[in-house]
Amino acid sequence: MSPSVAEARSAGIDPGVAAADPAPARAPVRIASRQGAAEAGAADREISIKLEDVSCYYGSFRAVQGINLEIASREITALIGPSGCGKSTLLRTLNRMNDLVPVFRLEGQILLHGQSLYGPRVDPVEVRRRVGMVFQKPNPFPKSIYDNVAFGARVNGYRGNMDELVEQSLRRAALWDEVKDKLRQSGMSLSGGQQQRLCIARAIATEPEIILMDEPCSALDPRATLQIEELMFHLKRDYTIVIVTHNMQQAARASDITAFLTMGADRAGYLVEVGPTSLLFTSPREQLTEDYVSGRFG
């Protein structure tokens, strides 16, 4: 972060002035219900996470500014945008992973079912059990496949039947058939795609409500990528999924809602447009979005 902070400083940008310029404050974007999206049968989508005027800072550098966004339950929301526009930073605000960075600061509100994620009594450790995360590069622990899946449950004091939980999590992650005979083998002995599904199983095992995915396929080959996308399609019946992706085809294929972010002159990321994926890719409202999704920029 420090180089970008330095650049912002040397460019003489006053955050206070730049704030209003590139992204005029937007009202939370309302999205029409998509057919078949709401399994509950209700016409209104249940909003799981609501971001209200969220800005993120690393020290004095503003990475993300003024985001208003609603994320619906049991849908796949994709965050797309050019490198450095703050997609990952925004994603990591949702499970408070950014709190691990000492100079990180958040302004605005993030509500999970109406309760503030950053409230004074909220412990980030508890948040992370409810909001799971899958990373860019598969990062299984150097433990057995079984212990990888059981890790999250163990640290959170799970008292149920661990064997069942492990099997169920691996089944949901579409990995059980491939590993059921070698649960004692190292998680690192699996292929890249299998490792990533193991990480998904590991995240599922803490029984989260939301799963965040930070470019989960960027280290995988096309076949493994497709497997993960199919898996996401099945998982959205039970989980709310937010995925950051560099791959526009992936966003178009796999997500219900797409949010397009870009960055302003001060390198702070802001939300340009959000809408149903099919609409955003075919008839975007903003010129910036159209330039990006048609490959003319970014």
């Binding site: 508890e126 059990r129 799971g132 990373f135 990062n139 150097p142 999250g152 959170n156 690192m188 803490t206």
Partner: protein, 301 residues
């Protein structure tokens, strides 16, 4: 691509001077230099080993291992020194392990990256380079005198603990720092607390490196002589040492004492003692290898 092929003209080609043979020759020269360095090292080691083995082996038998020192070389044994060395290495290992690892965990996982922390790290690296005799002086003042441990094996062991702690801490810090941050993030993202992240994700990955560092540091402690002279290791002990009573000796001091005598036979039993020290170190290094292999069977990055 087409642009570059269009631009490839005889004139531009003339700007390159491949001289492939010469480039390859410089590689061969460098490789030869490396081989020569290895050869010097191996030769020195080999000469040393041959000398020690030819002198020492005739004296190596059970009587020698199980006997006590004597004024008559043929009757002398090294049991008190052997037991002293083993006791010391156990005490050193058991004490240096928790202190060293805990200090390393604090410095890598907890300490904020401030000026003071960096100063601390630099100083630990410097401590590893302090001459061991200085540790002996410190041990004499603190353990022997201030803590009233006297010239006991315990005072010697604790002095050696201080001596190897910097090495243990540095090795453990390296092992901890080698664990990728993605491992820590993965554990945090599952709702682990900081301690659970360290215990469950970081330490298992760092364990092979940490254990190797400890064992190698222990083998250094076994070979130390100078600081022990100051904290009371004596040269003629005919009984088995206990940790808190005065009077003990260790193998390198036994070597020192015999090797400085003019008689050829004493030199020979010194050589035999060196063989025992070498075997002990070899065993410890072997143990380090085995431990490393066992602990790292899951780790691969």
């Amino acid at each position: 691509m087409s642009a570059s092929s269009a631009a490839r003209t005889p004139a531009s080609e003339a700007l390159f001077d491949p001289r492939l043979a010469r480039r390859k020759l410089s590689g061969t020269v460098f490789l030869s230099a490396c081989l020569l360095a290895i050869a010097v090292l191996l030769l020195a080691l080999l000469l040393l080993l041959i000398d020690v083995l030819t002198k020492g082996v005739p004296f190596l038998d059970l009587d020698f291992l199980g006997g006590v020192p004597s004024r008559i070389p043929a009757r002398a044994g090294i049991l008190p020194a052997l037991v002293g060395s083993l006791e010391i290495s156990v005490i050193v290992g058991v004490t240096a392990f928790p202190i060293g690892v805990a200090a390393a965990i604090y410095l890598v996982e907890y300490a904020p990256d401030t000026f003071i922390t960096r100063l601390l790290r630099t100083n630990i690296a410097n401590l590893a380079g302090v001459p061991s005799i200085i540790y002996g002086i410190f041990g004499l003042a603190v353990f022997v005198r201030a803590l009233h441990l006297g010239y006991s094996l315990m005072a010697g062991a604790l002095t050696l603990v201080l001596l190897i702690l910097p090495v243990v801490i540095i090795a453990s810090m390296e092992a901890l720092r080698a664990v990728p941050d993605s491992q820590r993030e993965g554990a945090y993202a599952l709702g682990a607390t900081r301690w659970q992240v360290i215990r469950g994700a970081v330490l298992p990955s760092a364990a092979p490196g940490i254990m190797t560092g400890i064992i190698l540091a222990m083998s250094r402690a076994i070979g130390e002589t100078a600081p022990l002279i100051l904290v009371g290791a004596v040269t003629f002990v005919t009984f088995l040492p206990t940790p808190l009573e005065n009077g003990y000796t260790v193998l390198p001091i036994q070597v020192y004492q015999w090797a400085t005598r003019p008689q050829a036979d004493f030199q020979a039993i010194a050589a035999a003692t060196i063989i025992v020290v070498l075997v002990l170190m070899l065993l410890l290094n072997l143990l380090a290898l085995v431990v490393r292999a066992r602990l790292s069977r899951h780790v691969s990055w």
